[in-house]
C-alpha cells in the first residue's frame, strides 16, 4: 500500500487560524471566563468586603453545589439531551440519606464504626443512580424525549420526597454524625470540602472527556448519533451512562447540602434544575449537543454565584439575581452566535 505515497503532504493553501480564533480561545467558555473575571473585578472594586476571606470561602462553597451538578448536567447536554430532574433528585437523595442515617443509628449497625453513615450514603447514591438509570433506559431504549422523560422524573422524585417526609425536614443523626459533617461541610487545606470535591470531579471529567473512548463517544452522540450507530459505538450504553452520572452528581450534591444546612428540607433545591442548566449553558454547553466541558460548567456556576453575592453585598434587591442570570444566558449565546456567524 505504500508504493504510491509521494512524500509528506504539503498544505500549500491551507493556513492556520490565528491563536485567538483557535481551540480553547475560540469557545464560548473563553468569552464567559473573561466576562467572569471582569465582573469579579467590578464587584470587588465596588463591594469592599467581597474579597474578604470569609466571603470568598462562602461564595466558593455556595457555588460548588450547583457546579457539581452542572458537571453532570453538562455531560447530558453534550450528548444532545437534557435532564430536568436534577433538583428533585438532590432533594430525594438528601432526605433519604438523612432518614437512613437516623434509622440505622437505632439498629445493630450503630455498633460498627461508620457503618451507618456509609450505608446511608451508599443507599442515597443508589437511589440517584436508579433515577438516572430509569431516565437513561426510557430515553435510549424506548426513545422517549429527554425533556418529557426527565420532567416526569422531576415530578416523581419531588413527590416521593414529600411522601416519605410528609413535608418535614430531616436532620442527619447517629453516633458518627460529626464525621458526616466533617466530610460534607468541613475544610481541607483551608478550603471548603465541597470546593475540593468539585475541583477533583471536574478534573476527572475533563480527563475522561478528552482522553477516553467513552468521552469521545459522548461528543459524537451530540455531533451525529447516526454516525455513531453506524460505526459501532455502543450508543445506548453511553447515553444511559450520562444520565446515571448526572443523577449521581445531583445525589452527591444533595448529600453535601444536607451537611451544610444540618438538615434536608423537603423543598430542598426546588427550581435548581433551571439554575443548573443555566450554569452549563452560560459556560458554553450547547443545548443542540456536541459542545461543552467541565471548565464551562464551573465558570458558569461561579458567574451566577458572583452576581448573586455581588447584589447582596451592594445591598441591592437580590430578587434581581434571576433577571441578571437570564440576561447573561442570552448574552452568552448571542456572543457565540455572532462569532460563529462571522466565521462563516
Amino acid at each position: 500500500m505504500t508504493q504510491n505515497v509521494a512524500g509528506p503532504l504539503s498544505f500549500s493553501n491551507v493556513g492556520r487560524d490565528r491563536w485567538w480564533k483557535r481551540g480553547a480561545f475560540a469557545s464560548q467558555t473563553a468569552y464567559v471566563a473573561i466576562a467572569f473575571v471582569l465582573i469579579t473585578v467590578l464587584v470587588s472594586i465596588f463591594a469592599h468586603n467581597f474579597l474578604s476571606t470569609g466571603n470568598l470561602l462562602n461564595t466558593s462553597k455556595n457555588f460548588s453545589y450547583i457546579a457539581i451538578v452542572a458537571l453532570g448536567s453538562t455531560l447530558v447536554i453534550i450528548t444532545g439531551g437534557i435532564d430536568l430532574s436534577v433538583g428533585s433528585v438532590m432533594a430525594l437523595v438528601a432526605v433519604m440519606t438523612a432518614m437512613l442515617m437516623k434509622t440505622f443509628a437505632t439498629t445493630w449497625l450503630a455498633g460498627i464504626p461508620y457503618a451507618g453513615i456509609t450505608l446511608a450514603v451508599v443507599c442515597g447514591l443508589g437511589v440517584a443512580a436508579l433515577a438516572g438509570l430509569v431516565n437513561g433506559l426510557l430515553i435510549s431504549k424506548i426513545r422517549l424525549s429527554p425533556f418529557v422523560t426527565t420532567l416526569g422524573m422531576l415530578s416523581i422524585c419531588r413527590g416521593m420526597t414529600y411522601v416519605i417526609t410528609q413535608g418535614r425536614g430531616q436532620a442527619p443523626a447517629g453516633p458518627q454524625v460529626d464525621t458526616f459533617y466533617a466530610l460534607t461541610d468541613g475544610k481541607l487545606f483551608g478550603l471548603p470540602v465541597p470546593l475540593i470535591y468539585l475541583l477533583v470531579l471536574a478534573a476527572i471529567m475533563g480527563v475522561a472527556l478528552r482522553h477516553s473512548r467513552w468521552g469521545r463517544w459522548v461528543f459524537v452522540l451530540g455531533g451525529n448519533e447516526k454516525a455513531a450507530q453506524l460505526t459501532g459505538v455502543p450508543v445506548d450504553r453511553v447515553k444511559i451512562s450520562v444520565y446515571v452520572l448526572c443523577a449521581l452528581s445531583a445525589g452527591f450534591a444533595g448529600i453535601l447540602i444536607t451537611g451544610w444546612l444540618g438538615s434536608a428540607p423537603a423543598n430542598l433545591a426546588t427550581g435548581y434544575e433551571l439554575k443548573i442548566i443555566a450554569a452549563s449553558v452560560i459556560g458554553g454547553a450547547d443545548l443542540a449537543g456536541g459542545v461543552g466541558g467541565p471548565v464551562g460548567a464551573v465558570i458558569g456556576s461561579a458567574l451566577i454565584e458572583v452576581i448573586r453575592n455581588g447584589l447582596a453585598l451592594f445591598g441591592a434587591d437580590t430578587y434581581w439575581e434571576q433577571v441578571f442570570v437570564g440576561t447573561i444566558i442570552i448574552l452568552a449565546v448571542l456572543v457565540d452566535h455572532i462569532r460563529t456567524r462571522e466565521a462563516e
Binding site: M1, N13, H211, R216, V220, N224, L230, T231, G232
Partner: protein, 255 residues
Amino acid sequence: MAHASGAESAAVLQLEGVSKDFGAIRALSEIDLVVNAGDVVGLMGDNGAGKSTLVKIIAGNFHPTHGKIRFDGQEHRFDRPLDARSVGIEVVYQDLALSNNVSAAANVFLGRELTRRVGPFRFLDHRGMNARALELFGELKSETRPKDLVKSMSGGQRQAVAIARTRLSNAKLILMDEPTAAISVRQVAEVLDLIRRLRDQGVAVMLISHRMPDVFAVCDRVIVLRRGHKRADKPINQSSPEEVTALITGALESA
C-alpha cells in the same frame, strides 16, 4: 455462474432473492448477485433505484424482507453494522456518517479508537491515531489534517475521511456509495487508483456512482438497477455507456 474470465475465483458475497419492502414501497425485488474476490463491480441506477438500500442491507443496517446473504460461503444475518464489519465488510455511506464536532482522525477511528493502557485505565492514543490518519490521507492524496474538525472541511476532505475509515482493517469487501460525488478531478483519480490497488490485493469493491466515466474506468462488471429490479449484470467490456444509460432510463428493458 460462468464469468467471461473463466477464472475460478472464490465468491465473497452472494445474494439470493433479496427483496426489501418499506411499507408499500418495494425498494428491492428478488436481487441475485455474486461478487468474487478482487472484483470491482459498478452498481448503477437512477435516483431511488434502490442502490443505497442494497448497500445498507449488505452492511447490516436493515434486514432483507426476503432472501439470503452469504459471505465467504456462509449464510449471515447481520443485526448491526458491527456484525457486517466483523466479517470484513466496510462501507462508505452516501451521507458519509461523520461527526462534525470532532477531528478528522477521531472520525476515521470512530468506534475503533486506539488506546494505551496506563494502570487500570485505557487512554486514547491521540498521537497514534493522528499519525495513522495522516498516512491514510496521504495514500488518498488528500490535503486533510488529522487534527482539524470535520465541521470546517470541504466535501472532498470529508469524503477522504470516510474512505480512510475503510482502510483500518483488512476488509474483504468494500462498499462505496458515491465516493466520488463531491471531489476534484485529481481526487477522483486517487480514489479510482485506490480501488485498483484494493483489487490487486484481492479486495472486492462495489462502487456506486452516477458518473459513467468512473465506472467504465475501474469496474470489471456493471450491474444496473431500475426500480428495485436488476436489469443487467455483465462484464464492462461487453457493454457501453450508451447501453448502460438506456438500461438506467428504461429505454432498454434488459441486457
